[in-house]
Amino acid sequence: MNIGILLKEGPYNHQASDTAFKFAEAAIKKGHRVDAVFLYNDGVTNVTKLMDPPQDDRNIAARWSELGRQHGFEILACIAASKRRGINDDVLVEGSSITGLGTLTDIAIRNDRFVTFGD
């Protein structure tokens, strides 16, 4: 099955990003394909490489980047939402990029399932 994911909240402050990540991992483990993770609202802040959590905590941006690299999917941040929140190409973690909402429309249409995570 092909799965598109929409993530609407930023890292750490809300569990949405953690649940989305655990869901994506489990889907991949069960043999499904994650097509893309699209970030909207405060969700765009999931991909700033500047985040630097305590050493004994998860690094949410690095974790998405690594999962995407291993399994061939991109983490896409909405351009309008990113501009409002200070996310631009200079701060993007590897494997992420900024794109328009047209891309989200494609993701919603071309996948067997489309799962939202928010708060």
């Binding site: 799965i3 649940t19 483990k29 069960k30």
Partner: protein, 97 residues
């Protein structure tokens, strides 16, 4: 259609709203702070026990464990993230937050 709910029913109207639109037979999965709804012997237990006669009701075990909830209302199934994926294999998803 799978309905997920991630908000505590004590603090927001999300669960109540979701249940108003739910169709008979459609599964409901409580995740994150939503799992407090299915904790045994709280104010919502009668509502959850009535609900599970018409709709399959699940709660995410990792979220129950994280919150120290070791006993859930009668008839509630507990699943892990792979179980969540299993429900998504069978249903389109309606995420309530």
């Amino acid at each position: 259609m799978l309905h997920t709910i991630n908000k505590s029913p004590f603090e927001t109207s999300t669960m109540e709203t979701c249940l108003r639109f739910l169709q008979p037979g459609d599964p409901v999965l409580f995740i994150e702070d939503g799992v407090y709804a299915v904790q045994a012997s709280n104010r919502f237990s009668p509502m959850i026990e009535a609900l599970q006669k018409i709709n399959p009701v699940f709660a995410l075990q990792p979220d129950l464990s994280a919150r120290g909830i070791d006993s859930v209302a009668d008839g509630v199934g507990t699943i892990d993230y792979e179980g969540f994926v299993g429900l998504v294999e069978e249903h389109q998803v309606n995420t309530w937050f």
